[in-house]
Symmetry: C2
Subunit: 140 residues, 2 copies
Amino acid sequence: MLKLTRKVEYALIALRYMDRNKDRRCASAKEISDLYHIPLSLLSKILQTLSKVEIIQAVQGAHGGYILNINPEDFSMTELINILEGPLGIMDCSIDSECSQLDTCNIKSPITKVNNAIINVLNNITLADISEQQSTGLKI
Amino acid sequence: MLKLTRKVEYALIALRYMDRNKDRRCASAKEISDLYHIPLSLLSKILQTLSKVEIIQAVQGAHGGYILNINPEDFSMTELINILEGPLGIMDCSIDSECSQLDTCNIKSPITKVNNAIINVLNNITLADISEQQSTGLKI
DNA sequence: CATATATAAGACTAATTTAGTCTTATTAAG
DNA sequence: CTTAATAAGACTAAATTAGTCTTATATATG
Ligand code: SF4
Ligand code: SF4
């Protein structure tokens, strides 16, 4: 509960790696998959999604891979989550939706404030924040 | 993803109701279940859990029910989530755990900061915040 | 040109988590 | 004694998340 999905984590891992390697021409899915022990097919799908919305740019064929296509400072966690998982909210009614309590719910408006506070946190964290900070492990 | 569970929402609905009815002796699971269209068995289990940790006090037998046993101002969302769902964290490694990326992960420490920020939001929201604020629907 | 190494796309399956049900026992008011 | 409650826990169903597999296409390089 209240967990980020693996898709989002894997995307962050890959995006940070690409950002830190911006000197090199491009990074392949295979390379990232090996380095961080992420299932290749899964990572591929994630990178394809990011490529489709032009967060990263794909280079096809042998020696291909992906290049970061955004300014990390301008790209928030909220945007990433939206791309990979759709609209973000801590309860169903924050988005659409068919909650059977909707008409009688006594917590909808207070919980909406909680929701806004959490979205606000994520809005204010950019890929640069994820990328710049020292990390443990490989530190790449 | 990043959703509150129904258990937590149902608990908040019930706790708010009890808080707003503190004049009455007690509120039964059936009564709350009917008012807010929450499955009775599910709500019962939730209230039993809250009763076991003495957030609410059970009154057995006919005319029984539950009475709020805490000061809403002193009871945070984090505590509630801990009781109903266990330790709170946006990623697996924030708690224990067996993440296969752990040794090479390049985002662990930055993501920990995000985690702390979100937990902080939840720490600072009390049942009083949920209860006091005007709501839509039944407004009970 | 052939081959090896990439991305692209999407169907499919497995695993895990969340939500909800059902059953049986106990308690106390009337 | 009957009725309306809580207590406890096994069980099932639904939904979400994670991961696999397959086939097609693109391109660098020998
Ligand atoms: S806040 Fe109320 S209406 Fe919204 S999803 Fe939760 S229970 Fe349903
Ligand atoms: S932050 Fe890294 S180590 Fe922690 S759960 Fe996510 S992938 Fe695993």
